[in-house]
Structures are given as structure tokens and as C-alpha cells.
Amino acid sequence: MSAHSFGARPSAASLVLRYAVASIALLVIGVPILYGLLCAFKPSREILLARFLPTRPTLGNFSRIFVDPRVLRAILNSFLVCFVALALGCLLCLLASIPIARRKERIFGIFYFLFLSSLIIPTISGFVTLYMMMVRLRLVNSLLAVSVLFAANMLPIGVLIFSSFLKTVPFELEEAAKIEGCGFFRRIFLVVAPLITAPIMSLAVLQFPAVWNNFLTPLLFLRKPEARTLTLLIYNYTRDHESDFGAIFALLFVGMLIPFGLFLGARRLIEQSIGITAGGIKG
């Protein structure tokens, strides 16, 4: 098996084989996505016909969806929610992880355990209670409240990533600052934060799709049409305008473009953060 021989020079045949395998996988991954994107340019009737390429490409679907004021509003809502959720989430993760990583007292170990073991809790199990709480607090349809929910749900992974990263960072700088008289919270924001910028960005980038694409939480808590996020709007479109396939795929196109755009800009960060997560899992 040529793939196992790390030391020897690769033979031409093995190279060809490897490229072939990778290309086949690329087709399997890429073709459905490409198909989805192409359907946005077909009129609705044609989408039912299950052909791959559009015969008469049209931009009509896009004009139909952008005429709908809810679409632009939903895009704006999604951006706002993501920004607030990620910023707040990173902040909270930072506040939680630094003591956990730096202090030796047992109680912080308990907090760490509590954060991580919550990963086994299924998301839907909390909804009935959460909904009742949200209504009693008059927070239904509040995008801010939904952002806070997302931020809170970032904590397990965020704490995992930050604390395992921090363990690899020497704390002399913080010690020195402490001796200088720098207060606890000031230290966090002035000393530790610059050191941890890369993991923060990585966490934000890693969690962005999770927040952007989440539809269950918005489904339950955001019911006013003006309050919907883009993914929720897409879900509603598939139920309300089920027969207007063209519009649905056009909306999908827009919905896919945004995470894709951010992905292009932040590829390396994603890889880094996955690597750190894996490291944290091992540890």
C-alpha cells in the first residue's frame, strides 16, 4: 500500500491514484452543492424536471425574493444576532476560562466539569421550560434574548478551547502584572486578551455557522415576521411557498453565499480552531 510508506518517494502511479480518489470525493461533495446553486437560476417548473444544468437561465427568482421586504430584514437580523451572540459568547468564555485555566482550587475544576458534561444534554429537551421562561419575561420575539441563548450555548466548546489553549501559554506575564498591582479584571482584558486573540477569532469563526444556521431556537422564539433570521425564513419559505421552487432555491443561494464568503476569508482560522478543539478533547 503505497499510501503507508511515508519515507519512500511517491511513485507516479500512486500520485495519480491519490488525485483520482480525491477528485471523486470532490465530485461527491461538490456536485450536490453546485446543483443547489444552479437551481436558483431555473424557473420553478424546470426544477421539477431534475436536470442538472438550467436550459434557460433566469434571474427572475432573485427579483421575486428581493421584492419581499422580509428577506433583507432577515439577512440583517441574522447578521446582528451573529455579531452579538459571538461577541458576547467570546466574552463569557473568556471570563469563564481564565480562572479555570489559571487557578488551582477544586471548585474551578467542578465548573469545568459542569460546562463540559452539558454536551450530552439534547437541545430540544429544554425547550418547553425555556419557552415558558421567555414568555414570562416578555422576551419572545426578542432577537437580543435569542442572541444571549446562543452565547450561552457557546460556553462548553469555548471553555474547552480557551482553557486548553491557556494551559500552553506561560503565565509569567500575568504574574508580573499582578505584582505590579494590575487588578484581576484589568488583567484579563489587557494582558490575557491580546495573547488569546487567535483562539478567540477561531472560536468565533467556528461557531459562526452554528449560530447562523440554527433554525430550531428561532423557530420557537421568533415568530413575528420582522424578527426572523434568514435560516428561519428559508424554513418558512419551504412550508409557505412550497410550490415556488425557484424562489426557494434563490433564497438558498443567498443563504449559502454568506457563510461561504466568510469561510473564504477565514479558512485558516477554522483549521486552527478545529485543531485546538481536537487537542482539547485529547486533554
Binding site: 446582528l80 444576532v81 442572541s147
Partner: protein, 449 residues
């Protein structure tokens, strides 16, 4: 060390302030975009399952005639309707005015959310149909008004163009199921998709098997009751009969149709709206659906070169010389007893339920037969043939109001009919239906009359 700290402070300070300012701005935007109260005219909140603005024309007319009132509509997708209604009720967050089915009216009534409408002018209209009024009366009080109701199911829409092309009668009025099956055979052998269901939504086949075989349903249940007519759900509840008794003939017919290739193989892939879009594009011959003409817009905008819509009534197997048909109350209007805008909601109800406005609504919505005698209703042309064949059957009309297991009856029992299409045997599917009913029977709540 100190110098380093200070310069880091500067940088971090600037970075932090920017982030915090942006965060504050975003929060402010979100807060503003959230649920805020606006001042102005009286706002009556209204929850309905019509998400495509089907009621807009009616409500606009209301707001025109009542300029000081605005109706704020919240459309909730039908498949989630019950869940959302229950959640909002638990949370004490119901709108002023509500559309729902009668079983939810009973639920709201039990929990103290339904306004007693007994004295209201709209309810006087019900005097024209005493049987209906009685069905909607609980302990002498009435809590809802039927906005959409009718008689008879079993509408089989068909594409006259396909029938003509295959040599079948363009005005199709079969008197027996055999006639229908013979036609389906011709269609199937010609390679055209015969009967199309949107079977991915399992309420579609549930609806079909529950309601398109009414005569055999009532007949089978009556047979278990010593020949006396009894509401099927009441019979199930009291152990007189089982769901499988009522459904057997329907399931067997469905299975037979599938085995003989008379059900389109695309049915299980399609949800209900997808299926009517497909049918309206001229791809299938027969499309069973209720009296809301297949996807109004689809057929209104259908290309006449591919679709000429017809409708016949599903022939019934008569039982002891009798045929049965269901009267149904589908969309009910009710008022939240704890509404903030109680007066406004009551006015809206009385306005919508007055004869001229009711007729106006039914006409522009092109709804099928209504259950109260109303003057001024113009029938939908496609129902001319259907109405004639239904009349020829001269059915005994039964209004069923006994509750079934929680959740939509068509969905709950529908999953078993879908299983038949997916390959399960009829006996197994029926056994599962029975087991399901027994399992969930404790949750059935019978209202006091």
C-alpha cells in the same frame, strides 16, 4: 515591564472600546427590532393558519368599514399550528382573536380561554342549522363560530385533458368504485401517473383513508353496534369498535390501488403543495383533495393547454341501501376570554360571521358547500359535476364531534396509511393503528355537554 503594560493598555483599550461600542449599537438595534408596543388605533391581534394572505381581502374590507380598528394578523404554518397554540396558551400569551379547529376550541374552553358567545348576533345565524348548533353547544353555551364548514368529502379532481386524450369520458361521473378502477387501469397502462398523493405529508393519505370511504366507515362501525348508527370516535372510545374496523376497507383499497400501479410512484416523495403543483402542471390524472380547489393559485394560473380541471365524487359502497357523508366544521372563529381588546375582537367576530360578509368570504375564496343555508353563495364551477353526483347519492349527513386522540386525527392515523404505501401490509398497519389508539386513549379529554 511597566512601559510594556502601558502600551498594551493603549492598544487593548482602543480595541476594547471599539468592540464594546459596536456591541452596544447592535444590542440597541436588536432591542429596537424586538417586541415593542406601538401606539395608535385599536389593534386586535389575530392568529390564523392562513399564511398566504388568504384572509387579507376580508380583513381589509373590515378595516375599511371600521377605520378605528386595525387587525394584526399572525399567520402560523398549519403543520405547527396546534403546537404553537398550546405553547402560547400555557404561557398565557394568546391573541385576541383566534382561528382553530373545534378540538382546540374545546381545549381553550377547558382551560378558561374561550369567550362565551351565546348572546352574540353571529351565533343567531346557527339557528338555521339546529344540528350544527347542538354539536357546538357545551352545557348550554357556545364558544365558536364555523367560518369554513361543509358537507361531503371524496372530491376527486381530475385532468379532463388527460381523460380526453385516453378516450375516457370528459365528464366523468362513476357510480361505483369499479368504474373508477377501470379508468385508473386505462390511465396506468398508458404510462400516465394515475392517482397522485402528496404522501410525504402523512395527513394526506390519512385524510383520504378516513374521509373518502365514509359509507363503509359508518357502515362498518354501525355493524359493530347492532346496526345502530354511532359516531366512530365514540365507538372507539367505548370499545364498541376498533379503528381497524372502520379503516379496513380504505386501507385495503389503497393497497390494491398501489399494487395495481394506480398510485403514482412519486407520491411518497412529494409534500402536499409539491403534489398539487405537479398535478397542475399536467403530470398526473387524478388528485384527491378537499373542497379547497387544488392550490388556488396553481389552478388559477394553470396553463389551459395542460390542465382542464374537473371533479367527481368518490363513489361509495352503500350500506343497507344507505350512503353516508360527513358534515364537517373545519375553521372555527373564537374570541380569547382574556383578550386585551375584548370589544374589538367581538366586533370582528360578529362582522365576519354576519351573512353578507360570510358569503363574501366564501365566494372570493371559492370554498365548497357551506353547512348553513346561506343566500348569495356562488358555487365554484368545478364543483358542478361533483355536487350533482353527491346529490344523486342522497346521503345521510352526519356531523361528528367526538374527540379523537390528541393531535390532528388525519396526521395521527395518517402515519399508518402512509406506511401502507411505503410497503407495510394492511394487517400490520391496522394493528399499529389500533395499538396507537389504545396507547393514547388516556389523553382523550371528553368535554362535558
Amino acid at each position: 515591564m511597566v512601559g510594556k503594560l502601558e502600551s498594551m493598555e493603549d492598544v487593548m483599550g482602543k480595541r476594547l472600546t471599539t468592540v464594546l461600542v459596536l456591541l452596544a449599537a447592535a444590542c440597541a438595534l436588536l432591542f429596537a427590532g424586538g417586541g415593542q408596543e406601538k401606539t395608535g388605533p385599536v389593534k386586535v391581534s389575530y392568529m390564523t393558519w392562513y399564511t398566504q394572505g388568504e384572509e387579507k381581502q376580508l380583513l381589509d374590507k373590515f378595516m375599511q368599514e371600521n377605520p378605528k380598528v386595525t387587525v394584526e394578523v399572525e399567520g402560523v404554518d398549519g403543520s405547527k399550528y396546534g403546537e404553537i397554540l398550546k405553547m402560547r396558551m400555557t404561557a398565557g400569551d394568546l391573541p385576541d382573536f383566534i382561528t382553530c379547529k373545534q378540538n382546540f376550541v374545546e381545549m381553550l374552553m377547558r382551560e378558561g380561554w374561550a369567550l362565551d358567545l351565546t348572546g352574540e348576533p353571529s351565533v343567531k345565524l346557527l339557528d338555521r342549522a339546529p344540528a350544527v348548533k347542538e354539536a357546538l353547544t357545551y352545557r348550554g353555551k357556545i364558544y365558536s363560530f364555523p367560518h369554513e364548514a361543509g358537507v361531503g368529502y371524496g372530491q376527486m379532481y381530475y385532468n379532463k385533458l388527460i381523460f380526453k386524450k385516453l378516450g375516457l369520458p370528459v365528464t366523468f361521473a362513476p357510480k361505483s368504485i369499479d368504474e373508477v378502477e377501470a379508468a385508473l387501469d386505462v390511465i396506468a397502462k398508458a404510462g400516465v401517473e394515475p392517482v397522485l398523493f402528496g404522501a410525504k405529508d402523512f395527513w394526506v393519505t390519512g385524510f383520504f383513508t378516513l374521509r373518502w370511504f365514509e359509507s363503509s366507515l359508518y357502515g362498518a362501525i354501525a355493524a359493530k353496534n347492532g346496526g345502530k348508527l354511532i359516531e366512530p370516535n365514540a365507538a372507539y372510545y367505548n370499545g364498541i369498535a376498533k379503528p381497524s374496523d372502520g379503516l379496513r376497507f380504505a386501507f385495503e383499497t389503497l393497497k390494491k390501488w398501489q399494487d395495481r400501479g394506480w398510485v403514482s410512484k412519486n407520491s411518497l416523495s412529494m409534500t402536499w403543495p409539491e403534489s398539487f403543483a405537479y398535478f397542475a402542471a399536467g403530470n398526473a390524472a387524478v388528485f384527491p383533495q378537499g373542497s379547497w380547489v387544488p392550490g388556488m393559485d396553481e389552478t388559477k394560473n394553470a396553463d389551459p393547454a395542460v390542465l382542464d380541471l374537473g371533479c367527481f365524487s368518490m363513489p361509495q359502497k352503500s350500506v343497507d341501501g344507505k350512503n353516508y357523508a360527513s358534515g364537517y366544521v373545519d375553521k372555527m372563529l373564537m374570541v380569547n376570554a382574556k383578550a386585551k381588546q375584548l370589544g374589538g375582537a367581538k366586533n370582528l367576530l360578529n362582522w365576519m360571521a354576519s351573512e353578507p360578509n360570510l358569503v363574501y368570504y366564501l365566494n372570493y375564496r371559492k370554498m365548497g358547500n357551506f353547512i348553513l343555508p346561506l343566500s348569495g353563495l356562488t358555487p365554484q364551477p368545478v364543483f358542478a359535476d361533483y355536487a350533482a353526483s353527491l346529490k344523486a347519492l342522497n346521503p345521510v349527513t352526519i356531523l361528528t364531534v367526538f374527540p379523537n386522540v390528541p393531535g390532528d386525527e388525519h396526521t395521527n392515523l395518517g402515519q399508518f396509511s402512509q406506511a401502507v404505501l411505503a410497503g407495510k401490509s394492511v394487517n400490520e398497519a391496522l394493528a399499529n393503528a389500533d395499538a396507537f389508539y389504545l396507547e393514547h386513549k388516556p389523553e382523550i379529554k371528553i368535554p362535558e355537554r
